[in-house]
Symmetry: C2
Subunit: 115 residues, 2 copies
């Protein structure tokens, strides 16, 4: 999986990104470039069970449920999280491939080469 | 250096980010969440000599010199690049610590633990 990710998104210091790559990555980075969305991602990603109920996310912020839903939708559209409705609530989990893609982009060349 | 970076910015899947961390990281991510700035970063980072003349950056884009300068200033303010004037031109280089900080944020926990 690591090799595929590197192929898809070379580290920023390996070679100049072309316009298409840069445009695509900028969309992904804009999705995470927000304090609430970063906190949501880290809460979902660090939950021991691997997934987090939207009910737990909403109570953790001093924001309305529609605002939290708006941020979750941006993360979901960007392919960073996925959600599954079970009964009353939606349960979210990280999509590791997309998170790794961002990590690879900013991984120094020396570390990538040694992986 | 790796240990210091991890201490400073835990991977997004390790534990929930607090408000201060999330706000600070969002500023850094906003600086890179732009196609032109991503291309500038990758051009500067991948230049064999380790630094790039602003004259070479400007000619690579179909943008005015002031627009390129504006984007370079955002990257510099965010601590992602540094510049040194020598004669007519400014020469830019990546600041690896800041780039690594972003990489660490999105590095899966398993990979971080094995470093």
């Amino acid at each position: 999986m690591t090799a595929v990710t590197i192929e898809c998104c070379p580290p920023i210091a390996r070679r100049p990104l072309d316009e298409t790559e840069a445009a695509e990555l900028a969309v992904l980075l804009k999705a995470v470039a927000d304090p609430v969305r970063l906190r949501l991602l880290s809460m979902i990603g660090s939950n021991a069970g691997g997934e987090t109920c939207v009910c737990d996310l909403t109570v953790a912020f001093d924001l309305t449920a529609p605002t939290i839903s708006h941020h979750l939708k941006i993360l979901r559209t960007a392919g960073l999280i996925d959600g599954e409705r079970r009964g009353t609530w939606v349960y979210y989990r990280l999509i590791p491939e997309t998170v790794t893609r961002l990590g690879t982009l900013f991984t120094p060349l020396a570390e990538t080469a040694s992986q």
